[in-house]
């Protein structure tokens, strides 16, 4: 579904991504972790071409991101993305947030888009909030709406960039629950997250990044199984985040 092939990216002289290669198969859930500044966000933003890269290629469901002939808006409309800070559109109601891209990008009718949006809103348990605005919801609720908004586009894959790290602790689980449900339904997912409980529960593979490189890329059982077999950097990182 996503194949990342030898991607290199620079910000001026600074190399953010170095020879990154990996694969996410259909229905697979891959968790990406690593220390701050290691390039996790940059890597998943390359997948839907929010960030350009200078070398290598990424192919999403048969479409090359690096190919200059690729219709990027069309590609992006098939890749759902959930951000750390939700990024709902504050001036639009929840219903409008759920329908605007369906209408303006996919060309669906308002009625069709609204029906789809409300169905997804119900699925994330927020059907009573359809008429509200994002500013009237809690962080956890906003993030669930953001997930529903991405799903409304019928994406072939979902990208998550630290979807719970801006949330108060008591709201983390409501968002993770939605993500777990999504994973169990067979959605292809690439998630940057430090929620190792989530990784243990639903991930197929775990990728560990450090200094712009993919240092570890292995099945979950292997990643969490024998910690002493991991690279030194991964061990240090795991020791830090598993303490809690």
């Amino acid at each position: 579904m996503i194949s990342i092939d030898n991607v290199n990216k620079w910000y001026a002289d600074f190399q953010v991504l170095t020879n990154c290669s990996t694969e996410v198969k259909k229905g697979e859930v891959v968790v990406v972790c690593g220390p701050s500044g290691s390039g996790k966000s940059t890597l998943i933003k390359c997948v839907n071409a929010l960030e350009p890269f200078q070398q290598g290629d990424i192919v999403v469901d048969g479409t090359s991101v690096a190919d200059s002939k690729t219709n990027l808006p069309k590609l992006r409309s098939r890749v759902g993305m959930v951000f750390q800070h939700f990024e709902l559109f504050p001036h639009l109601s929840i219903t409008e947030n759920l329908t605007i891209a369906q209408i303006k990008v996919l060309g669906r009718s308002k009625a069709e888009a609204t029906e789809k949006g409300l169905k997804l809103l119900e699925r994330v348990g927020l059907q009573d909030h359809a008429h509200k605005h994002p500013g009237q919801l809690s962080g956890g609720q906003q993030q669930r709406v953001a997930i529903a908004r991405a799903l409304a586009m019928d994406p072939v894959v979902m990208l998550f960039d630290e979807p719970t790290s801006a949330l108060d602790p008591e709201m983390v689980n409501e968002v993770l629950d939605v993500m777990v449900q999504l994973a169990n339904e067979g959605m292809t997912m690439m998630c940057v997250t430090h929620e190792m409980g989530f990784a243990r529960k639903v991930a197929d593979r775990v990728i560990f990044m450090d200094a712009g490189q993919i240092v570890e890329d292995c099945p979950k059982e292997e990643f969490f199984g024998d910690v002493s077999a991991r690279s030194e950097r991964a061990q240090q990182f795991l020791a830090k985040i598993l303490q809690h």
Binding site: L88, P90, K132, A150
Partner: protein, 248 residues
């Protein structure tokens, strides 16, 4: 001070036709409003376009808008007015120049000059407000819109501008009020707007203080009315759940 106040002056005949002085003020106010409103429409449209241009990820487009702002903000308004009224018509193609100088009546040609002048001058200021409003929005809004498949023009019209305009209503209000005050420059090229009518009344009637008191009151009332109008708009478009506006 030995001055005989006579507030009845406004109802006295001007000696020209059957007009009383108050009629002059009404005509003047009409011109003032006509200048300011049409100038404001130009300023809002052009200023928004320029403000967007300054924020797009293209150096050439942004550069054009920046140059525009630098020129129109830094040349004094009166100089701009004289250029539009005295110089620009000479640069027009012959038929247009003749039309402007000979076919139009003098009030209309002065009106066109002052409306274009104020519109373009104020556009530079509106541009800066719009730019500031757009830049105040989190980068993530644009990223989220791109991620859903929106194209850049759609992002501006659906995501960035609706939010930016809400933020900049207060500074836009003061630009709106400014264009009313600035419309008085029209009196310098002979257009009988409110200030010119006031001066004329003062000269004809010798009731200088009454005339200028009335003009002050009219400008003041106009400003208050516009301010209230903008407040109402601000409350109307306020987004539920965001920090309330206008000290609510």
């Amino acid at each position: 001070m030995n001055y005989n106040w006579d507030w009845g002056i406004f109802f006295k005949s001007t000696g020209i036709g059957s007009e009383i002085y108050l009629d002059w003020f009404v005509t003047g106010l009409g011109w003032t409003i006509a200048i300011a409103l049409v100038g404001w429409v130009i300023a809002l449209l052009l200023g928004s376009l320029l403000g967007v241009m300054r924020t797009v990820p293209n150096r050439w487009i942004a550069g054009i808008a920046t140059t525009y702002v630098e020129i129109f903000r830094n040349v004094p308004l009166l100089v701009q007015l004289f250029l539009w009224y005295f110089l620009v018509p000479d640069l027009l193609p012959e038929p247009l120049e003749m039309w402007f100088k000979q076919d139009l009546n003098p009030a209309t040609s002065a009106y066109l000059s002052v409306v274009v002048c104020l519109g373009l001058f104020t556009a530079a200021r509106v541009c800066e407000q719009v730019r500031t409003g757009i830049q105040a929005l989190p980068q993530g809004q644009t990223a989220a819109a791109y991620a859903m498949g929106f194209r850049l023009p759609q992002i501006y019209s659906n995501v960035l501008l609706p939010q930016a305009y809400r933020i900049i209503i207060p500074p836009l209000t003061s630009e709106f009020l400014n264009i009313f005050k600035n419309s008085s420059v029209a009196s310098l090229i002979g257009l009988m707007e409110l200030l010119a009518q006031t001066k004329q009344t003062a000269e004809f009637s010798a009731n200088l203080f009454e005339a200028f008191t009335l003009a002050t009151l009219i400008y003041f009332t106009l400003n208050m009315g516009l301010m209230l109008l903008m407040r109402m708009i601000e409350h109307r478009v306020a987004v539920p759940g965001l920090i309330a506006v206008g000290g609510k």
